[in-house]
C-alpha cells in the first residue's frame, strides 16, 4: 500500500504526520526543533517543483509513505489523483490519501509560505515550529486512528 499525507506545501504538516507514522518522531509531545529539522524534506523540496510526491520511508508493515503538496485544493487534488489512476485502470486499493491539513492552522500555512516561497526562514521558521507544537497532539491522534483503521494496532 502507498500512503500519501498531503498539505499545502508537501514539506511541513505532511512531513510531520509522515514522520509520526514512520516512528521518526515521538508519540508524546516531547518534540525538539532538532529532531524536526532532521526529517527528510522538512521545509526543503530539494529542488523539486511543488506537487511532486516525496518518498519519506517504508513503515513497519512494508507500506510506502509519501508526502504531497496540494496548495489550497485539499478536496480537488485527491479527486483528480483518483480519477487519473482510474483513467489508466491502475488499482486504487494500493492508494491511501490522508489529509494532513485537517489540524493545520493558517499560522503554519503562512510560515511555510514565508520560509519556502519568500525565502525568509528567520521569519517563517518560528511560526512553523510554534504551529507544529500546537497541533502535534492532533497529528499523533490522526496517525494513530489511521493505523487502527489499517489494522496496525488493536
Amino acid at each position: 500500500m502507498k500512503v500519501f499525507y498531503y498539505c499545502h506545501s508537501g514539506v511541513h504538516a505532511s512531513v510531520i504526520t509522515a514522520g509520526i507514522h514512520l516512528g521518526l518522531l515521538p508519540q508524546n509531545n516531547k518534540i525538539s526543533e532538532r529532531i524536526i529539522l532532521e526529517l527528510p524534506y522538512f521545509d526543503d523540496r530539494q529542488g523539486w517543483p511543488a506537487g511532486t510526491p516525496f518518498f519519506i520511508g517504508e513503515d513497519e508493515k512494508g507500506n510506502q509513505v509519501y508526502t504531497l503538496a496540494v496548495g489550497n485544493e485539499r478536496f480537488l487534488a485527491p479527486k483528480s489523483i483518483r480519477h487519473f489512476l482510474q483513467l489508466f485502470q491502475s488499482s486504487q486499493e494500493e492508494l491511501y490519501l490522508v489529509d494532513a491539513l485537517k489540524y493545520t492552522t493558517a499560522q503554519l500555512k503562512w510560515g511555510g509560505y514565508l520560509s519556502l516561497e519568500l525565502n525568509m526562514k528567520f521569519l517563517g521558521m518560528p511560526l512553523i515550529m510554534a504551529a507544529i507544537r500546537k497541533a502535534y497532539p492532533n497529528y499523533v491522534q490522526q496517525v494513530e486512528r489511521l493505523k487502527v483503521e489499517l489494522g496496525y494496532l488493536n
Binding site: K2, W48, P49, A50, G51, T52, P53, Q64, Y66, L68, A69, V70, G71, N72, E73, F75, L76, A77, K79, S80, I81, H83, F84, L85, L87, F88, S90, E94, L95
Partner: protein
Amino acid sequence: MKIIYNCFGGSHSSVTAAAMHLGLISESRIPTAEQLKQVSYFDTQLAEDHGEFKYMGDDNLGNQIYIIGRRNLGPMFEPMLHGIAKIFKIPSDDYLVINTMPCVNWIMVVGGILSRKLGIVSLGRPIVIYGTQQAHGNFVKLINRIKTTVLLPEKGKH
C-alpha cells in the same frame, strides 16, 4: 496516448484546445458563436466537475483527448501527475499534460468568471465566446506546436 488539456475551470481554454485538436473547430477560420456552443463541455462545467478528467474524443492518430479543470493546483498539477504516474508505474509515454492557460486573454477570464463563477450566463457567455474568438491564434499556435513537435516524432517512432 492520453492527452490531457488542463486549465482553471475546464470550460473554455482546455475545451477549445481539445476541440481544435480533434478538428471540431477549424484552425484556419475563427469559429462562430454557434460552433463554439456546440462543442461539448464548452462553458458548461460547474465547480463540482472540477478535478475530473472529461473525455472529448479520439484524434486521427488514435490518441484519447481529455480535459480537466484543475483550479488552483496550477503549477502543482503536472508534477503531481508525473509523480503519481511514476509511483504507480504508468509509463510516461502513455500521457501528455498540456496547460492551456497561456492561451487565455483577459476577456476570456472576465467572461469565464461572470458565466461560471457568478452564474450570470446571459452576460458572461457572449463575452467568453468573443474572448475565445480573439484568442483563436493562440490556440492555433499551441495545437500546431503539439502536432508538429510532440505527436509527429512520436508517430515516426513506431
